[in-house]
């Protein structure tokens, strides 16, 4: 069910990952991310979803001893972002991430969004103002905070904080955005807001999202991957995965018989 007319933004090729204690968390994963589509990763806890997601921005490099094998190739430049010669910082400049729990800095709303730009040496006040506004609008938060940009980010509600984190990730024009269970700490209304936002964001960029919520995967994603014990069990068009899964294990997990 793979749509061959959609270009591939990035793809994992025979990807293995080992934690520093020797545990193999990912086993020869091959999977594409289609450009301007949402790909969801589902599967029971501890199956390697988050580990896989964090390979995409080299988060594992922060902790010594972790080891990648295989490739994640980004298009159109065909860079293997796992290659030793590729700077993880360069990868993170192209691929941004939103975490499970909202993690705003203890700074103002404005400074939270502007931080990625400041890291990139942007000093022009006008440009910063414009980009912050644009990112906050993109994260559907502008109307709620435009009169209090100098307030501390901690004064926002949980859902607002998460949208602020999305704005922070968005302000730097990433090519891919990673979401690691972005709504698991939020109430249903805030969750609905974030999901709607993700659907809007895919106009501009490619999204990879880890979720524990089956309905969420079905609602927001175009493609779904089911992972189990570090392996990619099944990957395909979301409709197909949820209506006609080819593997028994996938069906059991989706229907709640297992996991």
């Amino acid at each position: 069910m793979v749509n061959i007319t959609t270009p591939i933004k990035a793809e994992a090729r025979d990807l293995n990952f080992f934690y520093s204690n020797g545990n193999q968390a990912l086993k020869s994963i091959n999977m594409p991310l289609y450009e301007k589509k949402i790909t969801a990763l589902i599967g029971p806890s501890g199956c390697g979803k988050s580990t896989f997601l964090r390979c995409f921005n080299r988060m594992h490099d922060l902790y010594p001893g972790n080891k990648y094998q295989g490739q994640i190739v980004m298009h159109p430049d065909n860079t293997n972002i796992l290659e030793a010669g590729v700077d993880p910082i360069e990868v993170r400049m192209r691929i941004s991430m939103v975490f499970q729990k909202p993690n705003p800095f203890p700074k103002t709303i404005y400074e939270n969004v502007a931080y990625g730009l400041r890291v990139r040496d942007e000093k022009n006040k006008r440009t910063l103002d414009d980009k912050v506004e644009e990112a906050l609008k993109g994260a559907a938060l502008w109307n709620e905070v435009k009169d209090r940009l100098q307030d501390l980010a901690f004064n926002l509600s949980g859902g607002q904080q998460q949208r602020l984190c999305i704005a922070r990730a968005l302000a730097t024009d990433p090519e891919i955005m990673l979401f690691d269970e972005p709504t698991s700490a939020l109430d249903p209304i805030a969750t609905a807001n974030i999901e709607e936002l993700m659907s809007e964001l895919k106009e501009k960029l490619t999204i990879l999202v880890v979720t524990h919520n089956m309905q969420q995967a079905a609602r927001v994603s175009d493609y779904t991957a089911y992972m189990y014990l570090g392996e990619l069990m099944e990957y395909g068009d979301t409709n197909q995965i949820f209506t006609r899964p080819t593997r028994k294990e996938t069906e059991d997990y989706i229907t709640g018989k297992f996991g």
Binding site: P76, D77, D87, E90
Partner: protein, 314 residues
């Protein structure tokens, strides 16, 4: 994707790479400055330690630990000093730990939070910074003359106990504060009283932090000289205090508490102030020993903290 879009991505990538190279120079620069700063402190101390060890080298033998001080440097030893230090530390430990931990627990868990407890908090932290000689003066008035404890092990132990009390209180409070509210609520939710919550959970889970604070306090106390001199410790002692263990019932006696004494840093100070160079070798050896003991105590603190915290994850 059109070729011009591809070209723009690649061009952008070159700019990004150039910027990262520029930023990484700062990264390297700080790494170097930091390393120099670390070395500056570390090498100075290491040189000092090595110098002490080299000077004191001839005295590193069992004789040195089993001989009393003497008029002849070659046969002078540390026996009365290390026994004195050990006994004083025992008194310090037995007084500072229960009092400090109980005070810390009370302040953190029981005391109402108002301006008065804030005032106490500020004062406790402040006490940790009071010069140790002030404690010596206090002890001279209170323990030596007020309670008539004399210039004894008991007086010295209590004085040093007082000295490290703020350290124990502060570290107890900090260890307690590290326990998440959720854990306390979990205990309250099954019907525990405050004391049950404190004794079954709060104290247990903060043991590592409390212990670390106690040991760091003790390793400070073992090197203290000024307050001990102030209360009038003797500098030349050629006898041991009566043994704490006796051979008649009840097998423990407390006469040693009343005994005169000397401690390691005072013995060192005494040897150092003599004109004869041979005694300076003894002083260097004593200095090296005090540093090693302190190092061992702090090492134990770090090890215990690691071991106890390993099983606790918030």
């Amino acid at each position: 994707m059109t070729t011009e879009m591809k070209a723009s991505v690649l061009k952008n990538l070159d700019a990004v790479r150039a910027m990262i190279r520029r930023h990484k120079r700062n990264d390297m620069l700080f790494a170097m400055v930091g390393l120099v700063a670390l070395m500056l402190g570390l090498l100075t101390l290491l040189t000092l330690f090595i110098d002490l060890v080299m000077d004191g080298y001839p005295r590193f033998n069992l004789q040195f630990f089993s001989d009393f001080p003497s008029r002849r440097a070659g046969s002078a030893g540390l026996l009365s000093a290390w026994v004195g230090s050990a006994l004083v530390m025992l008194v310090t430990f037995l007084t500072a730990v229960p009092v400090g931990v109980a005070a810390g627990l009370y302040l953190e868990e029981y005391a109402p939070k108002n301006w008065f407890s804030d005032l106490i908090e500020i004062n406790v932290s402040n006490l940790a910074g009071v010069p140790s000689i002030i404690y010596g003066l206090l002890a001279l008035g209170l323990f030596v003359y007020g309670f008539n404890f004399g210039q004894s092990i008991l007086t010295a132990g209590l004085t040093l106990g007082l000295l490290i009390l703020p350290i124990v209180i502060v570290s107890t409070r900090e260890a307690i504060r590290g326990i998440p509210v959720a854990i306390r609520e979990a205990a309250y939710a099954v019907g525990a009283t405050k004391w049950q919550v404190v004794s079954d959970h709060v104290v247990k889970y903060s043991q590592g932090g409390i212990l670390t604070g106690v040991i760091i306090g003790m390793s400070r106390a073992i090197g203290e000289t000024a307050p001990i001199i102030t209360i009038g410790a003797l500098t030349f002692i050629a006898f041991l205090p009566p043994s704490p263990i006796s051979d008649v019932a009840p097998f423990i006696n407390f006469q040693w508490l009343d005994s005169g004494f000397t401690v390691l840093p005072i013995q060192m100070f005494n040897w150092l102030s003599r004109p004869d160079h041979a005694f300076h070798i003894n002083a260097a050896a004593t200095g090296a020993i005090i540093i090693v003991v302190t190092l061992l105590m702090n090492g134990t603190a770090i090890y215990l903290r690691y071991k106890i915290r390993k099983n606790i994850k918030w």
